[in-house]
Symmetry: C2
DNA sequence: TTGTAAGCGTTATCAA
DNA sequence: TTGATAACGCTTACAA
């Protein structure tokens, strides 16, 4: 059923039917009621494709995240979808799978779909290409990870504050040999968490470069990094892990190695995902206000679409949630002390 | 940049440009190369909206799930998106939030968007309305939960086999007082898991109706159900939980109540989500082949769009993964025995 | 092999 | 207040 057919049946012009639905005030009450009644009865639904072509814009927002299965991102997407759908927007969700190729392909597809805006968590694509992808002129909200795209709104965590919180907590417990399992340096979440770690270590009079292992924010890289750390001549007494996926891997590695947590090694990770509190021991984590961040991203997008021109940046603060994976080191770890030697 | 502008610059007709991109074989090699070279250089991207309007169909599939944050569904969505995006399809993802209203609204939106098909996990909407939503004629693949919509393809788990597996495992361990935290009976996953539980109990000579508590597949209902069970005059020695969200709630309740697992009560739940193996104790679960199910759903959709007419049903089998949350009951639970009395 | 022209279902402009 | 008409950007008969 199309609008023209509807008009024919009702013996009015298509324009009138269209107006009755979108600008009811412009239509005489009697006509309006008659039209709306029939529209309702017939189950007619506007063809959004035709409308979009005519209006030159869609009611669709592209959402690109690095990994849909990471509970942090799925919570983010849920929150974004919830906020946008209430305003009549649909979300085309793309999973970049932490891969730049997939991210590029996704952005290309979104450009073709003429999405009215994009909310995305950068996975490393070459930014200059972004504009060439046909995405010029549409609002972009970057979430979690910034790409540096100019003009984009951002919804970010104060990442350095997050690792600082973690380090200070561990130092207060008496740890000196603190390691970091970091994310990639080309992502802001990787670089900033690393930087926060190192400056907090220096502030505590410790060497922040000594024990840093790099992963790719995926489970397996956390596993490997933890193994490397524990195999080193002076294994750390505490490890900070830069995201929840790598933490899962690190946990496996430590269990496999027979280490008791927090007895042999303390652990602090990012993201207060569901399982963090059910795990044994319950994890001390740096928590992000993920629902609020998703809402903020969606609202920034809505504001932009509503006409805001100047770009806006929202920075959220992490909080430390102390649980049982962090405790004082087994023996006072005097700097340079080498047990078993 | 539109196709017409492109044509003007290249001094060919729009039709030729279109053909060069979509049916290259119909264009003379020289013209074709000249066109494609410039298309590439200019960064021109087809306007999918215009194309869809003209062709009468989109390359967009609607995906509706009950709860994006439930790791089972996010894994499903990831798998679906992965498979479909490789074929050039986009996914509009909607979170029904276990609510029929939201589900209806989502389906309405998808109808307007002219999605070319819908993959969805039913949340209880009135089926007859589905057709009136303007969704008639497009392929529907139901996943996880069936609504009974005729003509729809289905990708389902053998749910009854799942609870049967759980009950048989617990009976073999010596349990007699086995309870179920069930999902809602109006969802097939709720009804079938309940039915499998009851028939397996009867097969073991036990009363399957005695201890069944109903939840809504969300965390809090699992918490409440577990509390009710443990407060009963004869608390169960083992509990089967019908999904992972309610399991999280049940776990909280049991820990709060000071019960030791599996010493005081054994636990078996559904869905081998990430945290099931990191939790203390690691959970015995009925596992679904979630990635394969997502792929199957996406492939059924692609086949349908490719022309298959007869409907197709894929049934997947659950497997039991034994971990440490299930063990023999503390004392041999002779039927009718009432310790402490 | 290429061009012309119609049309997909809306909405905006203008005229009545 | 309503209607006629053009246009959004593309694809596809059909014609040349």
């Amino acid at each position: 059923m199309t609008l023209v057919e509807l008009a024919k049946i009702l013996k009015v012009s298509p324009a009138t039917v269209s107006r009755a639905m979108t600008r009811p005030d412009l239509v005489a009450p009697a006509t309006r009621e008659r039209i709306l009644a029939y529209v309702h009865k017939s189950g007619y639904r506007t063809n959004a494709i035709a409308r979009s072509l005519r209006k030159g814009r869609t009611q669709t927002v592209g959402v690109v995240v690095a990994d849909l299965q990471n509970p942090f991102y799925s919570a983010l997407v849920k929150s974004i979808e919830h906020t946008l759908s209430q305003q009549g927007f649909s979300c085309v969700v793309c999973d970049a799978d932490e891969s730049q190729d997939k991210e590029q392909a996704s952005l290309r597809l979104l450009a073709e779909l003429q999405v009215t805006g994009i909310i995305y968590a950068f996975s490393g694509s070459n930014l200059t290409e972004l504009r060439q992808l046909g995405l010029d002129g549409i609002p972009i909200v970057e979430i979690d990870r910034a790409s540096g795209t100019e003009g984009a709104d951002t919804v970010l965590l104060d990442n350095a504050a997050g690792t600082t919180l973690a380090v200070e907590h561990l130092v207060a417990l008496g740890h000196r040999r603190i390691a970091l399992i970091s994310g990639p340096r080309n992502l802001t979440t990787g670089a900033e968490r690393l930087q926060g770690f190192q400056s907090a270590m220096r502030a505590a009079g410790l060497d922040g470069s000594a024990q840093v292992e790099f992963g790719d924010f995926r489970e397996n890289s956390g596993y490997l990094a933890a193994r490397r750390l524990m195999a080193s001549p002076q294994p750390p007494t505490a490890v900070v892990v830069a995201n929840n996926e790598m933490m899962a891997g690190a946990l496996s590695a430590l269990r496999e190695g027979g280490y008791s947590i927090p007895h042999d090694v303390s652990l602090v990770s990012f993201d207060d995902v569901r399982w963090a509190r059910y795990v044994e021991p319950p994890l001390t984590v740096v928590s992000q206000p993920v629902t609020a961040m998703g809402e903020a991203a969606a609202n920034l997008m809505l504001e932009r679409l509503g006409g805001r021109v100047e770009s806006s940046a929202r920075l959220f603060s992490p909080t430390l949630i102390q649980r049982e994976s962090s405790a004082p080191p087994r023996a006072p770890a005097a700097a340079g002390a080498k047990p078993h030697e």
